[in-house]
Amino acid sequence: MKISAIALNTFREAVRDRILYSILAFALLLIGASAILASLSIGQEGRIVKDLGLASSSLFGTFIAIFLGIGLVFKEIERRTIYAIIAKPIHRFEFLLGKYIGLVLTLLVTVGVMALLVAGLAWAIDGHWTSDLLGAAALDFLALMIVTAVALLFSTFSTPTLSAIFTLAVFVIGRLSGDLKLFADQFAGPGLRLIINGMYMVLPDLSRFQIGAQIVNALPLDPAQIAWTVMYGLAYILMLLLLAIGIFQRRDFK
């Protein structure tokens, strides 16, 4: 299948660019930091390792998603490697989807290994395996896929610098949008409330994908809420990809 050819090729590019070595380095960093932290708290080692571990792998994944995502299409056009591809019997949307899936695959491997490391460390400290940690990492990964799709969208028409700024802005607002909405509902006047609610609808609410705090504090999870969040995430990704495909169809590769 042609999409998988492009996806695997994109993955291969990331691997050959030695991104995966960074996982090993991250693992060592995590273990080193945890060892230090263990001596500083008075019994909260497990909690701190889980919080810090999940947060670092999430941030690291986001960083990679943004900086690789903004170049996904732009790089191919700028380096003109896209000429030999588009001239072949492949639809433009197949190319775009292939690049997206390739990057998601790369992120899955890197973030997945990091999440497993965190879970393993937590196991060593707690004495029991908390599989919910992987669930939290999985939901956060869906948020990561949204950020990747945003980066891809900008990559189809914007330069890397602008794309990075916009994607970072969407990420920050997305993480805060839950709080923003609360603030608007409680404190803002009708005009501002309309604007903020409008923004809330359009920009992704990434805060609802964060269940790490609930897992670490052993709070009960709401399966219905999670299911809605998953559907929201998938729908949002679909929308972004359709938008990206629409723009990409009309582009001239000069």
Binding site: E13, Y83, A84, K88, I90
Partner: protein, 311 residues
């Protein structure tokens, strides 16, 4: 001979400059390429040759007009199954090896693994890159990339091969090899459409040519019909020319007479005067060293067309 490429009224505008002013690059292009021929697409830099090729391969979208490739409209992706394209100064994924890249291209055509393996081996031999097949492309020289580019253009066994400046980056040996391959492709029944500004190669290879100047096709047709078959002049070289003969030749022919190290050169404008001069020379006992007709070269014709279009 059925048409393989039919271009009708194809126009392309770009937005250029700070004010993003709409500029027409291609003006209503009409062009046909027939099955089994080698068509040379000529023009000065900036004429719109690469734009035309990119329109044909779907890299850019037309502003107006249409084109059909192998009977199918431009916009249909399925048409590309039978087309091979070599872009100008190609760049390929430098982290892949030659073999991996060709395999990747083969997958994009939907070729089976066994077909891919067999064709890759054959093509690597054909373009003489088999020793570097398992090195990453970032280690390849410009010429090797160009040759690999030809290989990826042929991997799907295309009936139409489109080449944008195929000789660029090749040394004389490489150019000869490329010429031989192009002739071989024609012998296999394929159609070749290539753009170039190396006129000697075009003269040798092409059945038909088209000359594009400033986005307009100024000339298109069979090479021998475009170039006048009438000679421009005939150069006659004589030895043992006496001053009397010299003078009488000048009177007879009104042609310039030049002294050369190996004799006297008479540049005659047509065949009648050649006959007069020959008779006079033989009668005077001069020795005829050579009679060489000077044909109009493609270069001269080309330059004339280009300068004619200049504002």
């Amino acid at each position: 001979m059925e048409p393989v490429i039919e271009i009708e009224g194809l126009c392309k505008d770009f937005r250029v400059g700070f004010w993003r002013r709409r500029t027409r690059i291609l003006h209503s292009l009409d062009l046909t390429v027939h099955r089994g021929e080698i068509f040379g697409y000529l023009g000065p830099n900036g004429a719109g040759k690469t734009t035309t090729l990119k329109l044909l391969t779907g890299l850019i979208l037309p502003t107006a007009g249409s084109a059909r490739l192998l009977g199918r409209d431009l916009t249909q992706v399925a048409a590309k199954q039978q087309i091979g394209f070599l872009p100008e100064n190609p760049y390929f994924y430098d982290y892949l090896t030659g073999r991996e890249f060709l395999d990747f291209c083969g997958r994009l055509f939907g070729l089976r693994a066994s077909d891919r393996r067999e064709r890759i081996a054959r093509l690597l031999r054909l373009v003489e890159v088999q020793e570097a097949a398992d090195h990453q492309l970032r280690k390849y020289s410009k010429g090797m990339i160009q040759r690999l580019g030809l290989a990826q253009a042929l991997i799907n066994d295309p009936s139409l091969v489109i080449l944008d400046e195929p000789m660029s980056g090749l040394d004389p040996l490489g150019r000869k090899a490329m010429r031989d391959i192009i002739l071989k492709l024609k012998a296999e029944g394929r159609t070749i459409f290539f753009s170039s500004h190396i006129l000697p190669d075009v003269e040798v290879l092409c059945d038909r040519v088209g000359i594009l100047v400033a986005g307009r096709l100024r000339d298109a047709g069979r090479l021998d019909q475009i170039l006048k078959t009438e000679t421009e002049s005939i150069e006659l070289t004589l030895q043992r020319v006496s001053p009397d003969l010299s003078a009488s030749l000048r009177n007879l022919t009104q042609a310039p007479i030049l002294d050369q190290p190996d004799g006297v050169l008479v540049r005659l404008p047509d065949e009648e005067r050649l006959e007069l001069a020959l008779r006079a020379a033989v009668a005077a006992g001069a020795r005829v060293v050579s009679v060489i007709p000077q044909r109009v070269t493609l270069e001269a014709h080309f330059l004339r067309e280009v300068q004619g279009a200049a504002p």
